[in-house]
């Protein structure tokens, strides 16, 4: 029974991780570098959502939209003016630049909001017990929101012209260029979408706990692990990776002391890079 409960907890944690992990992996697919600034954008989104919810009294769903827009807009602007100039200098430089950006932005959030913990204006409900497994109503909402967002992202990538263009650039930038797809526009849209998802992810994490300027930074390792395990550049892979990392972290309690939980994310990265470097659903060369 304990195993089932741990798996349930892992699914819930993983489904929240999946949202920013999709953002990270989508940006990697198109822009070809791991954008670690996702941490600060998740924090910025969480605080934007908090401002909408706790200060302006908006309900959760419109607040999530604010988190998406603010996360996305900051992503668009910072990519255009901060990270784009790095890209010419190569993959490693851009990744390091994104780390610097995340620290900078985190401190901008700290400048405006301070270090205090903040909670969303949200009634807290006791868990419901189904067949001996207890889950929180808020967690079920969070899962529903995550699934809806995933469905929207898949729909966007599969059915819309821009979504197809994005996949084309991800598959083969030269060929996409010959076909007349403007890689710069695609880059801007993926930055907006990826960081918007990070913003929502930050707020979803906060809904379940509380937020402070470190919220995104703390989640960065599992988000990165989810994207790598699933296969960097693969959107369905990010979802699978997030669930694998989420469930593995919880199940680790059976065998390891609780203080080693984070090592699971590192272990998952190590195992995957050793056995299947392209990730569970990634393709060779990614």
């Amino acid at each position: 029974m304990e195993i089932l409960q741990l798996i349930a907890n892992g699914v819930m944690a993983g489904s929240i991780l999946a949202v920013p992990a999709i953002g990270l992996t989508a940006m990697y697919a198109v822009l070809r570098f791991p954008n670690f600034a996702i941490a600060s954008h998740a924090t910025a989104g969480a605080f934007a959502g908090w401002t909408a919810n706790a200060l302006f009294g908006l309900p959760i769903l419109p607040s999530l939209l604010v988190a998406l827009l603010v996360g996305g807009l900051i992503g668009l602007v910072t990519d255009e003016f901060v990270l784009k100039p790095f890209r010419k200098a190569g993959f490693i430089t851009t990744a390091i630049g994104s780390l610097a950006l995340t620290i900078g932005l985190e401190n901008v959030v700290r400048l405006f909001y301070g270090n205090d913990l903040r909670g969303y204006d949200l009634p807290l409900a006791r868990d419901i017990v189904v067949a001996g497994i207890h889950v929180g109503p808020q967690q079920l909402h969070n899962i529903a929101i995550s699934v809806a967002i995933m469905a929207l992202v898949f729909g966007f990538l599969t059915f819309t012209r821009m979504g197809k263009a994005m996949r084309a650039v991800a598959d083969n930038p030269q060929l996409a260029d010959i076909k007349g797809i403007d890689a710069r526009t695609v880059g801007r849209i993926v930055s907006f979408m990826g960081m918007g998802l990070a913003g929502i992810g930050g707020m979803l994490i906060g809904l379940d706990s509380s937020i402070d300027p470190m919220t995104g930074f703390r989640a960065m390792l599992p988000i990165f692990a989810a994207a790598v395990v699933g296969g960097l550049g693969s959107v369905p892979g990010a979802v699978v990776g997030a669930l694998v990392v989420g469930i593995a972290e919880e199940l680790s309690l059976l065998a390891l002391p609780a203080s080693y939980k984070s090592s699971i994310a590192f272990l998952a990265i190590l195992v995957i890079l050793t056995l299947r470097p392209q990730g569970i659903l990634g393709r060779e060369g990614n």
Partner: protein
Amino acid sequence: MNRRSFLAGTACLTASLGAPAVLRAQGSVLKLGVLTPLTGAGSQDGPRMLKAMQAVVDEVNKAGGVLGRQVALIVEDDQTNPEAAVRAAQKLVGVDGVPVIMGTWASAVTSAVAPVCWESKTALMTVSGADSITQLPHQGYIFRTQPTTTLQATKHAEYIASTGAKKVYYLAVQTPFAVPMKDIMANVLSGNGASMVGGLVYEPSKTSYRSEIDRALAAKPDMIYLNSYSPDVTVLLKDLFRAGYTGGRLTQSYAYNTKVAESLPAEVTDGLVNVQPSSDIDSAAFSLAQKRLGLEAPDSYEAQATDWASLALLAIEKAKKATGTDIRDNVRAISQGGGTKVGSAVEGLKLLREGKDVNYDGVSGPCDFNEKGDIIDCRFRYGLAKGAKIELIKVV
């Protein structure tokens, strides 16, 4: 500026660098180091401790400074992170040449910074509670105004037993004092008709602790001791509420402070007890600190910070020199013994200049240290969470 005057200026500057250090130091500002968490898990307390130290320094400067010199605090952020703290400490010691570093908060940070201090003969004043800190070979350079883990664990366990709780679960964040504290509490509880039914040390800063809470509740405790920092305690309290736990909860005041209280609904926090080493609320030093800081009740951290700055400055005045070793050798001479009792640095400095002996009794308590650098006695204040407020239960 023409080339000739530039060369002349450079020559003068170079020559002055060759002059004996003592010539240059005369009348210069006396620098004291502050290394405290302005960011990270300790960021709720660090800025307030800094403010309290600054207030003492301002007061002393207004009254003429120490050894005829104005005092300045050189402030570094330890980020509640041992690695960042060591870099900052090396800067304070190597670049600024401070004789004392004040303000480390997390035990892991203090343990990391301590060797930098004793190797450079710099005094270190801290609030960290882990017993292991003063057991380091620190040659007397560490002064701790916070009660040791042993003292805290014993008093907390006695309090828990006095509430009638029988089955206590220990849930702690990974720190140097997490495991020793559990063992001490288990001993004291079993001697007082209660027992520890289990314990779990978790990793800090996770976004959810549901599985850890499930583990704890499986032991069916009627009291859970949350030995945590505030970001985690917020998550833990929510998860305990969701899981339907209705028993007692006790935590440290640095984990459950008014900021955390405001970020959580009352139904989640009501009934929680928080504990902190108590300021000496009846002392003269306490009422002076109230005025100096403009606060109704300076808490234990503001109290201890006030005492570090005061102790360091008094020790420097007593020694007539401002090195770390002078501070080490003179703190006990001004904080314990038969001198005139004083409650502020300004008061003490005046008497020391007149050649009298002083015994500084601080805001946090008598500030009497044993040979290891630990304070000898301290009182504890228990508070009850009600709404977004914390009501006093008692000070014992």
